[in-house]
């Protein structure tokens, strides 16, 4: 049985409960009074498939597939406009990221979603040495859509790269190894512990 169908059965089709148990700050979703101020204040405006207000209603209406496979929560830029305005102080930004994270855990992220893709690259990059390797990260971003467009992108951002090198924010030496934390195994232990805590929290929901 996949985690996915497992979750559906576990929460007996009550998607709100599932969200409360598995999504960061998910227990806030039920507090939304559907006033619409978050949706109206979000700078992404009409670029959303579903603004936060609508996502919260969809969760309560049990639209599990539509929500988890949606592109919407990946669009959030963490500007915090919505949180500042929400009359009920819902931690909307965190919920959006929590939903994205959960969808990813279940493998439901839409294919070729650029933010999701970038997040993964960022994570993998950072986990190698415990520090982000800007040069490699930048290059992988530019070459994401193939060699030709990659070269074009790189040329476009040449000046930025040169400036960063001048300011010692980036080094060409990064291509060969690059800087890192003293002991990467310690970092890995920290991450492992964090995962354990998170899993225990999910496990203990409703008990």
């Amino acid at each position: 049985m996949s985690t996915n169908t497992g979750m559906v059965e576990k929460y007996r089709n009550n998607f709100l409960k599932e969200v409360e148990a598995n999504v960061e700050e998910g227990e806030w979703v039920k507090m939304c009074m559907q006033c619409g101020v978050c949706a109206g204040s979000c700078p992404l405006g009409s670029h959303w498939a579903h603004p936060p207000q609508e996502i919260f209603m969809m969760i309560r209406a049990g639209k599990r597939d539509e929500v988890l496979t949606s592109d919407s929560m990946w669009m959030c830029t963490s500007c915090y406009n919505c949180i500042v305005r929400c009359p009920r102080e819902l931690p909307i930004t965190h919920i959006m990221h929590g939903l994205a994270n959960y969808a990813k855990r279940l493998g439901l992220t839409p294919k070729s979603q650029p933010t999701a893709w970038f997040s993964q690259v960022f994570w993998d990059n950072m986990m190698k040495k415990g520090r982000v390797n800007e040069l490699k990260l930048g290059l992988s971003l530019y070459f994401k859509d193939g060699l030709v467009s990659g070269i074009k992108e790189s040329i476009k951002h040449q000046k930025l790269g040169m400036n960063m090198m001048k300011a010692k924010r980036m080094s060409i030496a990064e291509l060969f190894g690059g800087h890192g934390v003293k002991d990467i195994s310690d970092l890995q232990k920290i991450i492992k512990k964090a995962e354990e805590i998170e899993n225990a929290r999910i496990e203990s929901y409703g008990k």
């Binding site: 109206g40 603004p51 009359p87």
Partner: protein
């Protein structure tokens, strides 16, 4: 003023709005001695600044006049205007209040002939009209103000204009030497009927009340309808005086919001429904009203009124808390931005005029009561044993409409009567 007689069997009413008047009348008509302390130069409170009452759409002046007559006819009631309670000590059955009385500079000889007002030139913000216009430095707060006695603005004292006012008066009513005085009054029970004030709309920054001329508050809108009000009874835009036909109401402006007032102010849904009829009254079928709301709270018998407004084809209801207002610089129209909950459609709607249905907060800041008193998170007075012989009446206790405020005031009067009755028994 020092000739006021007060004993431990006196009931002191602080605030002479509709609630304070009601409490005073109820207690006085069963024979109790009552003193009403009112901060403004007239009694009647905020209902005197309303055009019509929901749900019957009658004029508040009518009810105020009836109550005024009952007060005038009852020698048990003493009304002190331009006065505030600055100190209160003691316990149930035995309070001493310090009352500060500001000088009016006009004595009881005044016939409200208006000659002093005509004679002076200085003008000041007119607080009765929420500063939408100016009034003279010698003035009657409004036509039907009770007492019918002029006031001289303290800012005018010491100027030539003050002397002009004195010279103009044929009845020797202007007394420029009047001084502030503080008197002490005994009381057995105290009723706080200090009412409410509109929430400061400037705090709701995304609505641009301080930046956009054609965004006004619901209390200002009421004043516009008054034939003697700041616009002479015309519904026009502050920016250019053009007719305001396409009017938007924004509900919960400052209420039900943890950034502003947490509570539902309870009257503002009905106030906007009522005010939608004002637009129709002025412009008939040319009226185009939009009400932006989270949910309409027209409780119990008010539902009929709500249904009637819903049936009006000139009124549209939009379920959405407006996110922001931006001014169209070309024509001064406020443009409302948001997303509606029924369909999640993004809108950008232009209106001639926007009315913010502002919330109600208590008029007395919670830490400025002269005696320790239990208030809730919003600053409204709680009913609590610990308050001893101090009782709240009307909007000092909660956001209430007039009907409920008056019922509440009657209950407060009964509680106060019980206290002074106990004193009477003890004193034999």
């Amino acid at each position: 003023m020092s000739d006021i007689v007060a004993t431990n069997q006196t009931i002191l009413v602080v605030g002479g709005g509709i609630s304070g008047m009601t409490a005073a009348i109820e207690a006085a008509e069963v024979g109790k001695q009552v003193i009403v302390i009112e901060k403004r130069p007239f009694i009647g409170g905020r209902v005197s600044q309303l055009y019509k009452y929901f749900p019957k759409l009658c004029f508040p002046t009518c009810g105020l006049e009836i109550n005024q007559r009952r007060i005038n006819a009852n020698k048990n009631i003493t009304v002190v205007t331009m006065a505030e309670v600055t100190g209160l000590v003691g316990e149930a059955g035995n309070y001493t209040a310090s009352v500060k009385i500001s000088p009016r500079y006009v004595n009881s000889n005044c016939t409200a002939c208006g000659a002093c007002g005509d004679a002076v030139e200085s003008e000041f913000d007119n607080e009765f009209n929420y500063n939408m216009d100016k009034r003279k430095g010698a003035y009657l707060p409004y036509n039907l103000a009770q007492p019918q006695r002029y006031v001289i603005d303290p800012q005018m004292i010491g100027t030539d204009d003050a002397q002009k006012a004195k010279d103009a008066c044929k009845f020797n009513a202007v007394d420029l030497d009047m001084q502030e005085e503080t008197i002490e009054l005994k009381a057995g029970a105290v009723i706080y009927a200090t009412g409410w004030r509109p929430y400061d709309a400037n705090k709701i920054q995304p609505y641009g009340y301080d930046r956009i001329k054609n965004v006004i508050t619901s209390v200002e809108f009421e004043r516009m309808m008054d034939p003697f009000g700041p616009t002479g009874g015309k519904l026009v835009r502050p920016s250019d005086g053009a007719e305001a036909k396409k009017v938007a109401f924004i509900q919960c402006a400052g209420s039900r919001d943890r950034n502003y007032l947490k509570h539902c102010s309870r009257i503002c849904c009905m106030a906007s429904l009522k005010q939608s009829t004002y637009v129709s009254e002025k412009y008939g079928d040319d009226a185009e009203v939009s009400i932006y709301y989270i949910d309409i709270r027209a409780i119990d018998r008010f539902d009929d009124f709500y249904q009637k407004v819903q049936d009006d084809k000139n009124v549209t209801f939009i379920k959405s808390k407006v996110a922001s207002i931006v001014e169209n610089k070309a024509n001064g129209n406020p443009t409302l931005h948001g997303v509606d909950t029924e369909g999640y459609n993004r809108y950008a709607n232009e209106h001639d005029l926007v009315v913010l249905a502002v919330g109600m907060e208590p008029s007395v800041d919670k830490d400025t009561f002269p005696i320790e008193i239990k208030v809730n998170d919003e600053g409204f007075i709680e009913h609590d044993e610990a308050n001893g012989g101090v009782f709240a009446a009307g909007c000092s206790s909660d956001a209430l409409d007039v009907n409920r405020a008056v019922q509440h005031a009657t209950a407060a009067a009964l509680r106060a009567i019980q206290v002074v009755n106990r004193v009477a028994k003890a004193e034999g």
